[in-house]
């Protein structure tokens, strides 16, 4: 069951973005590790979607971690302490250490961003942005970008069902599923393009290009306290970053 929401989605989104900035600025494995264990892990565990988020993190971060390990672990140019020598490639202590730092950082990025993306209340986020008078085109791009994913998935499922009704047999084997995917691609893309053209007219017919400020059907769940908190967080992280980088506290 989804967790009970405490903060406005805009606050959650900003907090996640600032956390990523902090990890980049601080650039220490200890900090990245602490964020991973103390923030990302509890957030995933409390999300109510542990399985889906874990799978998404694995699918996104897994290949990145693997490639980082292979690249830096075997071909790190500044490696001195050689652990294994394969001729053209050498496993060095410095390379492994760098791969671990990079991997940890990537793990934090994907963990933070995917957890937020997969638990955000998108309608609430769009409503908050509208209430805060954000640019309507920006809000639409964000909203339609998120909304198009289930739309495409649903459309693809409908086309597959139509093809099955006409004789397409989709087996359990990966090859059969891959062939079904190829068969669905052309009508899916054509259908989406036709829809997009029609939708453009529809947006115009429903006044999307009006110049007056847009309003929202959903109530404003944002609070003055959270607005101040967002500003405070942004200023604090900005100031910390300037001080940290300015003081030359770099590894």
């Amino acid at each position: 069951m989804p967790r009970r929401r405490i903060y406005n989605p805009l606050t959650e989104l900003l907090a996640a973005a600032l956390l990523v900035v902090l990890v980049l600025v601080v650039n220490r494995w200890e900090f990245s590790f602490a964020v991973l264990v103390l923030v990302v892990l509890p957030a995933v565990l409390l999300s109510g979607r542990i399985r889906q988020i874990s799978l998404a993190i694995l699918l996104v971060a897994g290949p990145l971690l693997l490639s980082s390990l292979l690249l830096h672990g075997l071909f790190y140019p500044e490696g001195r302490v050689i652990l294994l020598d394969f001729g053209v490639a050498r496993v060095t202590q410095e390379g492994l250490s760098f791969a671990a730092v990079m991997g940890l950082r990537m793990g934090v990025f994907t963990g933070v961003l995917l957890t937020v993306a997969m638990t955000l209340d998108i309608p609430d986020l769009l409503a908050t942005m509208t209430h805060r008078r954000w640019n309507r085109k920006l809000v639409f791009i964000l909203g339609s970008a998120v909304g198009i994913l289930p739309h495409v998935a649903l459309r693809a499922r409908q086309i597959t069902r139509a093809q099955q009704a006409r004789g397409l047999v989709v087996g359990r084997e990966p090859i059969s599923r891959f062939r079904a995917l190829l068969t669905v691609t052309t009508p899916l893309v054509i259908g989406l393009l036709v829809d997009a053209s029609e939708r453009n007219h529809m947006l115009q017919a429903r006044g999307f290009s009006s110049s007056v400020p847009r309003t929202s059907y959903l109530p404003d769940t944002d609070t003055p306290r959270q607005r101040w908190a967002r500003r405070g967080m942004a200023v604090a992280v900005g100031a910390f970053s300037v001080l940290w980088l300015g003081a030359g506290v770099l590894p």
């Binding site: 069951m1 769009l126 739309h151 017919a205 059907y217």
Partner: protein, 521 residues
Amino acid sequence: MIRLESESFAYDDGVPLLTGVSLAVQPGEYVVIAGASGSGKTTLARLLAGLVGADAGSTFRGSITLDGQAVRFRGLPTDPRIDPAAWSAAVAFVAQGAWAQLSMMSATVGEEIAFGPSNRGMAPERLRAAVDDVAAALKLTSLLDRDPRRLSGGQLQRTIIAAAVVQRPRILVLDEPFQGLDEGATADVAAALDALREGGTGVVVCEPMLPRSAPDMARVLALHDGHPVFDGLLVEARGAGLRRYGIGVAGDPPMPGTGAALGGSGDDAGYSGAPPGPTGFPSPGPERIAMTDVCFRHPEDRRTAGAPGDAPAPPGLSGVSLSVRAGEILAVRGANGSGKSTLLQHLNGLHRADSGTVVVGGVPILNQPTGTLATAVGYLFQDTDQQLFERTVLREVSYGPRAGGRPRVEALRRASDALETVGLGPAGEAHPYELGFVQRRLVALASIIATGPAVWALDEPTAGLDEPARTKLAALLALHARGGGAVVMATHDATFAEAVAHRTIWLEGGRIRPAPPAHGR
């Protein structure tokens, strides 16, 4: 209030349409633009909506006057551009194809309806009140929290109409708004349009046939091949012999003799025009379909069951039993969302019963892949465009026989024959999307004919059809039944069902219920 003077309109420098068409709509007026497929009614509706198509290579010569302000078009690149925001504030437009009209920004029906007024800055309190009013008028209140992408076809259509009505436009243009709506929903939409007209809105409705009921003094502009053939009151139009232009009267049974307009055999492929009814039913053949005590819940219903705040999921099926024999045509009727499509999709394995049995052609539907059942059951989807996916009409129609294991040459021959049967022989090399709505519907039907299943499951087969296509369809169903096939069709078209089907079952909330008193048979 709005006046259109069309000298000509051409797509991509093609054949000029709408030559010498003049249409004026006054406050509170109800105007029907009637015409068979390809008559130009959608083009005319789009012109009223300010979509002159210059950006898509179309050429319009004429003028549109809105509230005394005339915009003149000469078919030149220097023609004025209509400001869509300003125009749509006065003229709202509901196009065909509800799916493509979703904003994609709305997670609920309420937000979708509110999309237009919120774009125009309506205050939130007024916005919610306006949405509630329109939702109540169109019986959408219980659906306000539902995801609009997961509505039934009729519910989605009502949502899109509500989204236009809530804008309180001065002119409302609707292209076939009653397509796929049940009788109750049709009455609700008509009442909402009446309420708008009382407030001074001029309503323009495009229809393939003359409406059975419409407001007093409704006017008709009838088009044929892009040219006006009648302009006058609806009561006069009914006696003006418009049937020769393929314009029938909605609610009339299919008319034998007009199907030849589609290029059929001239005798409507064996349809006599006499309602099959109980007397027309041939001697009972073998049982083609047997459903016994079928229960089914939609997957989303199972996932969200009991979760607080969740909107009710669409009904599944509950204890449905029925039998259809060879030679029989069965109509399945019921309100939008009553489970008609769900029932049909059990016949070809798109849905699998949670309990009970479904046997088609003597074969129980168990765990076999859906695709293997296509040679036994042909399925016509409510949304045709879901169904078409090949790059030419001929390939499209030959897909079924090829997938069923027929050699390529034979598959193409069967496809050609099927296209001839529905009157689309010359369209074989066209892309399905180049055809009009009715032709695409017939392509989907031809694809079933080419595959040759004994059972046809048809979801709203007459929705959006003009009279020639509707009569052709009646003939094809009768022919299929006489050849030993069986037909199950979900439909809101009462007269078509009464004229063509041997019997009717009624669904409500996923259960078969007794026929209403007025529909005894």
